[in-house]
Symmetry: C2
Subunit: 283 residues, 2 copies
């Protein structure tokens, strides 16, 4: 496994890599969710590159950039085990020099859901992903369904800007008790960790209701809300039942939807989601 | 010379092209300025691609998109003579489908000069150029110094977004009498064509003043302004004496500068510029 830092080192390393190249962008502090992306990339490409970069421009000043967990040594050990070919560790100084002034913005999709509460977040995401794609020129890039809106935004950006690569979205990986894996789970104390189960419990309750025929977007949101409100340490920020592509909120009877939510558990903001389809049941 | 339209045809054609690939993006109605870019690309690359696309997003509603001159047959004949390998003719429908919503914006550089009078212009330029670069993945791309600010904006975008290609800026090509070549010169009637010489005359007068020691930005602007105001059919929109990289207006004694202006001659808006350097004289 080769590790590079500068653009120059990266370009040198890329010239020697076999195509197709699969790519997994991460912010580090890797968990099984990330590793599932690396494994999927290994299965379908001749080489696999992973970047670890805690991108400052997708955090607002009041968010947790400074506290974002890191453990580079552990990350590299995990990536080594997965036989990752290349790990790129760009520096913030190289990525955002002083006169940096170019932004990639996806207009509509980013105004909804997460974007209502994190208005500059997706501008940071789409900009850094465009930069990473340009620097690496991968053939496929892998993202998790956990960040469902991010996946939709990146797919839209790739389509709109004519990137010549395939975006592969992989399923959410959950802890045995149902909690969606997230680097931010490390912020939770034991009580909060237990309380955090209300997210997956709420989604599962809604899925059960959907399976026995509930098709009202309002009532599905209500099922989730009830579960969160029953948990004292949790505070619901939003619950959404939205069109899976446009992300527009649904109001009446639904067929397919993305059911998603953001919840504060103590000071930690967690998100989770589930896709429901009346045509093919997904779990 | 191969001509393609769809992205699919483009990608097929690109696979057969030898690298390095030089690329000249144009809006068509080609003149010797464009052809000088193709010639420069031929000299330094194994293959050369040209696109012809009158990009709607860089025109504001009150601008001349609908009247922009076209002569595809002539353009293709000219490109054939230059032994262009590939001509790409994307359609507006393919480039901007109905749900298109992603923009590339360069922040600071685009607020100045042209950007003050054409506030959405450079967003359209940077977005379409990013799209064209992503679709073609050239090794070098060629632009004319005639659009000096556009050249600066694209260089900034390429740096900021980590595009792996080289931007080559080629000198302004002028008519024998000094008028900078432009597709928009075709709008001028014979009287206006004569009046349009005030732009190059103004710049040349300033260059002469600079050569004999004038170093006041104010007085250099004044020299240009005087020439334009002496021409009845011309109306000066702006004259700028700016830092060649930041494009910030200079106030006091200067060493290097970009002297540029926009002038309405009748209803036709023309731009021109000259670079002045106290260190190495450029003409």
């Amino acid at each position: 496994m080769k590790t590079v830092k500068t653009f120059h080192e990266l370009h040198d390393a890329l010239e020697k890599m076999e195509r197709p190249l699969g790519y997994v962008p991460t912010m580090g502090y890797l968990h099984e969710g990330h590793l599932s992306l690396v494994q999927e990339a290994k299965r379908n490409n001749r080489s696999v590159a992973v970047s670890i970069f805690t991108n400052p421009t997708q955090f607002s000043p009041e968010e947790d950039l400074d506290n974002y967990p890191t453990d580079l040594e552990r990350d590299l050990a995990l990536l080594g085990k997965e036989k990752t070919d290349l790990v790129w560790l760009p520096s913030a100084e190289d990525m955002y020099p002083d006169d940096f002034q170019t932004w990639v913005e996806v207009d509509q999709l980013t105004k909804l859901l997460e974007g209502r509460f994190r208005p500059t977040h997706f501008r940071g995401v789409s900009t850094v992903v465009a930069k990473l794609f340009n620097a690496l020129q991968p053939d496929r890039a892998y993202f998790g369904q956990k960040d469902a809106q991010q996946a939709a935004v990146i797919k839209q950006m790739v389509r709109d800007l004519n990137y010549r690569l395939e975006i592969v979205i992989c399923p959410i990986i959950r802890e045995p008790d149902g909690l969606a894996m997230s680097s931010r789970n490390s912020y939770l104390d034991p009580q909060e960790r237990k309380a955090a189960l209300c997210l997956s419990r709420g989604l599962e309750a809604a899925r059960q209701a959907f399976l026995v025929g509930e098709r009202s977007a309002d009532r599905l949101r209500e099922v989730v809300r009830t579960e969160i409100e029953a948990e004292k340490l949790a505070r619901l920020q939003y619950v959404s039942c939205a069109h899976p592509l446009s992300l527009e909120e649904l109001n009446d009877s639904i067929e397919d939807c993305l059911l998603s939510l953001a919840v504060y558990v103590g000071k930690t903001r967690l998100i989770d989601n589930i896709q429901l389809s009346g045509r093919i049941e997904k779990s």
